[in-house]
């Protein structure tokens, strides 16, 4: 049974069915509907919602709640994510699990509330200090806002990492039909967490390692963990790639427009396809390289940033395909027409098709 809801609302439905028990929020457009829905549905189901005094406090409440063994989450947008950077670094260092949703808006600074995808580097590369990564899901529909949040808690618990949903103002604000996951899942008791009982009394949640050797070992341990996640959890969607000469690469709202552009070009005889990363860390680097060594000659990266993900695409394919950057900034989401036109301007194989 499908229900019409905003992507932002769908996050909360997915979270509750995914076992979330604690939501610590701070209002920010265009993410606030997540806090609104959480404020209603967490208490209504016996779970806990608290509005923090700041994003700094919210992420540290998560640190405490996750340290106490709970499935905890928050949601914000760029300015709030910047404030959380410190806490996310501590969470990574102490290896706590949590889920954070970033409904991206335009920046830097206060920017505006329209969609950009310019938090990519901050979220996908870590964002705070030190050697760490977040697992980053990239939903492109209300259904995926629900489903990926639902999945995020198990993944976070399994690897003791922060799992991000890197969304955007359109995917958050857009209403679409959502089918709820059938089965509710729950976290289990964690041997390392603080339950305030005899069994967990010896546990320590900390990110300090005073000796260089110990800190080094810890960081190599983290690195190995991220590599393992990369080998097991890289996720992407492919459309019409089998014979593709032109490959669109995009995530989130950009991917929705890019698939329309690819399909329109295919109707005019262009062998166009799409690869949509569903995880940005880990990044589907090997698959991109494989496609670039195959039929793909040109790659069009459609992005609401100045090319942050395109850098990763370039790194994946090196010189085996030409990477074109189709970027829009400031909060504008291009129409299908604009994407097709820009592709025609930039990509020689399309110029003859006018």
């Amino acid at each position: 049974m499908r229900q019409l809801m905003k992507g932002n609302e769908a996050v909360v439905y997915g979270a509750l069915l995914g076992g979330a028990t604690h939501f610590f929020g701070y209002p920010i457009t265009p993410a606030s509907e997540i806090a609104h829905a959480a404020a209603e549905l967490f208490p209504a189901s016996g779970r806990h919602f608290l509005q923090a005094e700041s994003e700094v406090a919210a992420v540290n409440m998560i640190y405490g709640a996750a340290g106490a063994g709970a499935r905890a989450m928050t949601a914000s947008s760029g300015p709030g994510i910047s404030l959380m950077a410190e806490g996310i670094s501590y969470i990574a260092g102490a290896e706590l699990p949590c889920v954070i949703v970033d409904v991206q808006r335009a920046g830097p600074g206060l920017g505006n509330i329209w969609p950009e995808q310019s938090d990519y580097n901050a979220v996908v590369k870590g964002g705070g200090h030190g050697n760490y990564r977040n697992v980053v899901y990239a939903p492109n529909s209300a259904q995926e806002m629900c489903d990926l949040t639902y999945r995020a808690f198990n993944l976070a618990d399994l690897y003791r990492v922060t799992v991000f949903l890197l969304s955007d103002a359109y995917v958050g604000q857009m209403m679409e039909p959502v089918e709820l996951p059938e089965r509710a899942i729950h976290g289990e008791r964690k041997p390392w967490a603080l339950y305030g009982d005899a069994q967990s009394r010896g546990n320590l949640i900390s990110s300090i390692h005073m000796s260089t050797a110990e800190q080094g070992d810890h960081n190599w341990h983290l690195r190995a963990k991220y590599d393992q996640i990369a080998s097991e959890y890289t996720d992407w969607q492919e459309v019409d790639v089998e014979d593709a000469e032109l490959l669109f690469v995009a995530y989130g709202i950009s991917a929705r427009v890019a698939i329309s552009a690819a399909q329109r070009l295919r109707r005019t005889g262009v062998r166009a396809g799409l690869l949509r990363p569903r995880t940005l860390f880990p990044f589907p680097r090997a698959r991109l390289a494989e496609l670039a060594r195959g039929t793909v000659r040109d790659i069009a990266v459609v992005e609401l940033s100045d090319g942050m993900m395109a850098d990763d695409v370039q790194l994946a394919v090196l010189d085996s395909a030409t990477v074109h950057r189709l970027n829009w900034l400031g909060g504008e989401v291009p129409t299908t027409d604009l994407v097709v036109d820009r592709a025609r301007e930039l990509i020689p194989m399309l110029t003859t098709l006018r």
């Binding site: 265009p30 806490g87 709820l180």
Partner: protein, 491 residues
């Protein structure tokens, strides 16, 4: 009496510490060891060692976990009260101690301490005030006295430049929620005994779930004060206590009350007994809409509809879009609804873009609508040109002063505001517009609209009224068949 034996809540040897596992890492004459011991003794005495979680700050006491044989969590600089809040909201039974220094609590962490106190979190905060940053090398703290020399105030703290020493106990006491606020001192044995009593009181309050307790402890830092331990203790009495009066500010812990952090619906399986924790089945029914869609409303063949609904904020533009999208879902179709949102919603113009399709929908943007529902004049001006040739424009002719200028599309005026007003609710003109669209395009069916309205509108009391709008609009369209726009008629 101060005991000389090691408290049971301390580790026997400080194995986490590395070298020198029987001594602390604190400097000679430092007050931290004393405070640690008083806390550990109180934990012993109340028998709460297993339940205790000790939150270490950043500062000299960052290594609290070397010593306390309790649950331990090390926190980011100044954030311990927020971390303690998280811990508390998960587990109402644990005993949570936030141990913080002056840079941590009174400097970088002022927001977190003030708000945790103001929420009345049922936690205990021990604030060790030595008027200087210890670990980082003797820099000025917010509590450093005027004229006091530090490594960042080599000429002494200057009020005009650096402000005044901050009285945290006084600040906390300005809030209504905390139950216990006291400032104590470690300058001598008598004062230390008072400190011991305050530590015990603050912990007992938490055990009895009375709420937020705050103990500020004036504590010596001989190394950074560049004094001998005995000089340091004298300086506390002669100088520090003048700036920071040692006294009880509040002892309002009367009857146990529902402190924050003891929320009615706290989390975890532990609360299953409360009856508020929904099990899987109840959770599912909370999250599922309580209606199923009848199969006979399904639609299988329909050209993609890209509908732009535009008007003033308050005309129900967005909810008309939701109604249409819900009709699409009920018909078994794909749908997207994209609002113009943000400041535009609060007054001014608003629009919603709805796509309805048999196929999965790529871009949800509607830049070339097949239908425009213009609820007001500016909407027709703004979007007329974007409608596809052969498309449809429906205008709310009650207030849209003109017809379409283009002659390559269909134009249909309907006095939606008048019809809605006559039926007694101007705010339902959006339903009249949407029903007119449905009647002209053959989708959604009137049955679908009637079925969806009760589930789609937030204000249930308007259900009957809205259903009458549907009837009135269908009636109007039946009596006023679509005609060619003026431009086409002239040609």
């Amino acid at each position: 009496m101060v005991k000389h034996a090691k408290p049971g809540s301390f580790y026997d040897t400080f194995e986490r510490k590395g070298a020198g596992q029987r001594t602390t890492h604190y400097c000679p004459g430092c007050g931290h060891g004393t405070v640690h011991k008083l806390i550990a003794e109180a934990i012993d005495e109340f028998g709460v060692q297993d339940r205790t979680i000790f939150c270490s700050p950043v500062g000299c006491s960052v290594f609290g976990y070397y010593y306390f044989d309790t649950g331990n969590i090390q926190c980011a600089h100044g954030r311990a009260p927020a971390v303690a809040t998280g811990l508390r909201r998960v587990n109402p039974e644990s005993i949570i101690i936030s141990y913080q220094g002056d840079g941590d609590l009174a400097g970088i962490g002022t927001a977190e301490i003030i708000h945790a106190a103001n929420r009345g979190e049922n936690i205990t905060v021990f604030f060790v005030n030595n008027a200087i940053y210890g670990m980082t090398g003797g820099q000025m703290a917010p509590t450093t006295l005027i004229g006091q020399q530090t490594t960042t105030t080599p000429g002494g703290r200057c009020e005009a430049r650096d402000g005044s020493p901050i009285g945290m106990a006084e600040l906390i006491d300005a809030l209504s929620t905390p139950v216990f606020v006291e400032r104590v001192s470690l300058a001598d044995g008598k004062r230390t005994m008072k400190t011991r009593a305050a530590v015990r009181k603050a912990l007992r309050n938490q055990i009895e779930k009375k709420g937020f307790s705050f103990v500020e402890i004036l504590s010596p830092c001989p190394v950074n004060w560049k004094m001998s331990p005995s000089e340091a203790r004298r300086w506390i009495v002669d100088t520090l206590e003048h700036a920071y009066p040692v006294r009880n500010f509040r002892d309002g812990a009367g009857e146990p009350r529902a402190a924050a952090g003891e929320p009615r619906a706290a989390a975890g399986a532990a609360d299953a007994a409360s009856g508020l924790w929904l099990d899987d089945e109840d959770l599912h029914s909370l999250l599922s809409s309580r209606h199923d869609f009848p199969d006979d409303l399904r639609v299988h063949d329909i050209a993609e509809q890209r509908v732009k609904i535009a008007g003033f904020g308050g005309q129900g533009v967005l909810s008309a879009g939701v109604l249409l999208a819900n009709c699409a879902i009920t018909s078994g179709l794909h749908a997207t609804w994209l609002p113009s949102y943000g400041p535009e919603m609060r007054g001014g113009t608003a629009n919603a873009s709805v796509i309805v399709s048999v196929d999965e929908i790529g871009s949800p943007l509607v830049d070339d609508p097949t239908t425009l529902l213009a609820m007001n004049g500016p909407s027709l001006d703004a979007f007329e040109r974007s409608v596809v040739p052969g498309g449809l424009i429906i205008a709310n002719s009650s207030i849209v002063p003109r017809e379409a200028e283009r002659d390559d599309l269909r134009f249909y005026p309907v006095p939606a505001s008048d019809i809605a007003q006559e039926l007694g609710f101007l705010g339902a003109a959006n339903v009249v517009m949407l029903t007119a669209y449905a009647a002209l395009e053959g989708f959604p069916s009137p049955e679908t609209i009637r079925h969806v309205i009760p589930h789609s509108l937030k204000r249930k009391r308007l259900e009957k009224l809205n259903l009458r709008m549907v009837d009135a609009a269908l009636d109007y369209v039946a009596k006023n068949p679509i005609r060619l726009p003026a431009g086409q008629a002239r040609r």
